[in-house]
Symmetry: C2
């Protein structure tokens, strides 16, 4: 199996493009090769089976969408506060908006998980630690609120992201920034 890490990442990025544009049924090795501009057979050489390709896409999306650890560390040098949570949530929304394709591909994987148990297991194995880590990070950083705070924040942001990426004008009477502010304001207690 071919192992050049940069080439592997480039193929996964091409797969993310195909997934977002064509849906899960459009994701073939051939489509990934064309998208990546590489010779036919390259993606198949790297991933062997389509399932293996699919299972490696979600971690790649999270690597793309994750915050800069140094920026997070700098922010946490300030005293923990509700204002910091507001900033983190705006930064999260900024990253999602900047990488629409990545997040839409993740939603495609979620729908694929409703059809294929292996996909559901692979996605669950990735998302469960993300959820628990989000809770641990919030509490360990001394940010205001408890486990339920982070849980409700997690779902409200997930819902807002789904809405904003798919039908942004359905709630257009409220701006995206105001919606993020509203979520944090109502869910997170004063520090």
């Amino acid at each position: 199996m071919a192992q050049n890490p940069e080439r592997r990442a480039a193929l996964l990025d091409a797969a993310i493009e195909v997934l977002a544009r064509e849906g899960a049924r459009g994701l073939t090795f051939r489509a990934v090769d064309v998208q990546a501009g590489v010779p036919t057979g390259t993606a198949s050489n790297y991933f062997g089976k389509r399932d293996d390709l699919l299972n490696q896409i979600a971690p790649r999306i999270y690597a793309r969408l994750g915050p800069d650890p140094e920026a997070v560390a700098r922010t946490l040098e300030e005293p923990p506060s509700k204002a910091i949570v507001v900033r983190f949530m705006h930064e999260l929304m900024g990253r999602v908006t900047a990488d629409r394709t990545g997040y839409i591909a993740l939603l495609e994987l979620r729908l694929e998980a409703t059809r294929r148990p292996e996909m559901r297991e692979a996605l669950t194995a990735m998302l469960r630690p993300e959820y628990e880590e989000a809770i641990r990070f919030h509490l360990d950083s001394g940010l205001p609120g408890d486990r339920t705070t982070v849980s409700v924040l997690y779902f409200a942001m997930l819902g807002l992201i789904v809405e904003h990426l798919t039908t942004p004008d359905a709630v257009a009477a409220d701006t995206l920034d105001a919606l993020v502010d509203g979520i944090v304001d109502r869910v997170v207690p004063e520090g």
Copy 2:
């Protein structure tokens, strides 16, 4: 164009099954005819163009997923309270869980909206009044909270539904009922 309303609804239900099972790319007139067990050409006779079929699916899903108006009216004979909001949200989750297929098909339509502007317009034209109506209903019923309360509740429930339908075990440490309770508890003020 053929107009039997029951046949039309049955064809839309068949389209919802195909959409949830195969994704948007799998939704063809032929697949709908097979799913509905009707002669080839029937769906095409009813909907003419695939776009017209797609645009009629979302209203059908909402008709399936909506609450029983009489049950809502009975509940509202009690004094408005946070407890009533808890009940409404559990009932919403109950309807979604009972009609997984309908809601997954709606998520497919949302993803299709990221690709096709006409789909985004049709879905927005349906979702925007739903959102405004949810706010109006809450406030007019005297339920506790303001516009932002309903907005945050809307997104938190949307996020929880997406999570529960696609990767239910990712947050399995918390039960679904406890998550619904947590959302209402944190978002809705005491009455």
